[in-house]
């Protein structure tokens, strides 16, 4: 999977995102302070935001190019997007949520996804009776069952307590191995990024500031960034 941003420019209020970047690692972490443009980048790939200029290609196909009026709608991109709050449909139960994006019998096996994410026993539960960690896993399962070709996760582990984090983290690793699905995710946590063995793209003010392997960037000899020194690779 290759995602190419060519001179892509997107503005929203005071904020602007400017990218000339190729993402092709199996797992990519977007790292940086709040307001750096990490979520905007994910939403642009998903087709939820339209750039003002430049182009975005996914596996060679142009999906955004204002100059030629090219825009592939989100429903035709086959990109799974799990926002920070999970955004589960409150009027559907867990099963209804999981099956929302399912097309006939194609895609990953329902029981297998439920088993992998340990959500099989929750199928008939209303969404408001799920815990924070369960909500994340259901949202992840729902995205997976729509058979995406790429998974975008916005802070999949944020706001979870440490025991829960330790339970959800292996699920993310397993997803990659089980489904061979490329993942791009937003994280504030160097531990998480190192644990998932990711390629890191660091953003600040809508621009890429650093990029490289997690183990290198978060090493003591890595770039002298305050937040990077807080990681376990110190």
């Amino acid at each position: 999977m290759k995602i190419e941003f060519s001179n892509l420019h997107l503005a929203s209020g005071d904020f602007s995102l400017a990218l000339d970047l190729v993402l092709d690692a199996p797992v990519t972490a977007l790292f940086g302070p709040s307001g750096a443009g990490k979520t905007t980048l994910l939403e642009t790939i998903a087709g939820l935001r339209r750039p003002a200029s430049g182009s975005l290609r996914i596996d060679g196909e142009v999906v955004n190019e204002p100059a030629t009026n090219t825009f592939v709608a989100p429903e035709r991109r086959r990109i799974g997007y799990v926002p920070q709050d999970g955004a589960l449909f409150p009027h559907l139960n867990v099963r209804g949520n999981l099956l929302y994006g399912r097309h006939g019998g194609s895609g990953p096996d329902f029981d297998r996804v439920c088993a992998l994410l340990e959500i099989g026993g929750l199928a008939d539960r209303p969404v408001h009776r799920l815990s924070g960690g369960e909500k994340r896993r259901v949202a992840l399962g729902r995205a997976l069952l729509a058979s995406p070709r790429l998974l975008l996760l916005d802070e999949p582990l944020a706001e979870l307590d440490i025991p829960l984090r330790e339970r959800v983290l292996p699920h993310l690793g397993r997803l990659r191995h089980e489904f061979g699905l490329p993942i791009i995710y937003v994280s504030h946590s160097p531990e998480e990024i190192v644990a998932l063995g990711s390629e890191v793209v660091a953003l600040e003010h809508g621009r890429v500031t650093h990029r490289g392997r997690a183990t290198d960037l978060f090493a003591p000899s890595g770039p002298p960034r305050q937040e990077w020194r807080e990681g376990p690779a110190r």
Partner: protein, 222 residues
């Protein structure tokens, strides 16, 4: 209750229901556009739609009379091309009640749409749902209760409409007489007992409609 009372009540309910059904698709459509999209002229449209809510109903009625009369821009065209008269017919009552309840419909429906987290609609798109499927499977079920309430409130407003109706449709017993117009007329004639009977009926209808509307709005979506 006399036969005339039943006729007036039936006519009022029928006209209110018809005018509400007539404005529902437009009201909901406009409410959605106001809640979800930014477009040039949005504030102007918003203001114009809300005018009947704050203008004297009689003034709105006069404006409608000028527009819908045989010499008016809309009324003239309808009379010439379709042979349809609006003013001083039951259609006039429908037109007046529709215009007067439209702002309430739009306001309530707008709140209902604004209550649906746009993030849910976006995620549904990424799960492969077309905009139409998102509308029917996410937006409508989540806004549904509020939309139903908007219809009930518009209906309730239509039942009680007086000022604009009397200008556009006048008081013609058996033809354009609604509950509100009949009460006014009976008081004018000094038939207070008859007026009070219709008053009781109006209170009952208004109470039922407002109660249903409030109940629909209050109950949670899940």
């Amino acid at each position: 209750m006399t036969a005339a009372d039943w006729q007036v009540t039936g006519f009022t309910l029928a006209v209110a229901a018809f005018s509400t059904i007539l404005i529902l698709p437009w009201g909901w459509g406009l409410a959605w556009l106001l809640a979800r999209r930014d477009w040039p002229g949005k504030s102007l449209v918003e203001t114009v739609v809300m005018l009947p809510l704050v203008m004297p109903p009689v003034a709105t009625g006069l404006l409608l009379l000028k527009l819908l009369g045989r010499r008016g821009a809309i009324g003239g065209w309808l009379a010439d091309h379709l042979g349809v008269d609006i003013v001083f017919t039951w259609r006039g009552v429908v037109a007046a009640t529709a215009v007067m309840s439209f702002p309430l419909l739009v306001r309530t429906a707008r709140v209902a749409f604004e209550g649906v987290n746009p993030r849910l609609e976006q995620v549904a798109r990424t799960l492969g749902a077309s905009p139409a499927r998102v509308w029917w499977t996410v937006t409508m079920p989540l806004a549904g209760r509020g939309l139903l309430a908007s219809g009930v409130i518009a209906f309730a407003r239509a039942i009680g409409e007086f000022g604009a109706t009397v200008m556009v449709a006048g008081f013609i017993p058996g033809k354009t007489a609604t509950l509100a117009l009949s009460i006014y007329n009976l008081v004018q004639l000094g038939h207070d007992d008859d007026a009070l009977r219709l008053l009781g009926l109006s209170v009952l209808l208004a109470f039922a409609a407002v109660w249903a509307g409030e109940r629909l709005q209050r109950r949670p979506a899940t």
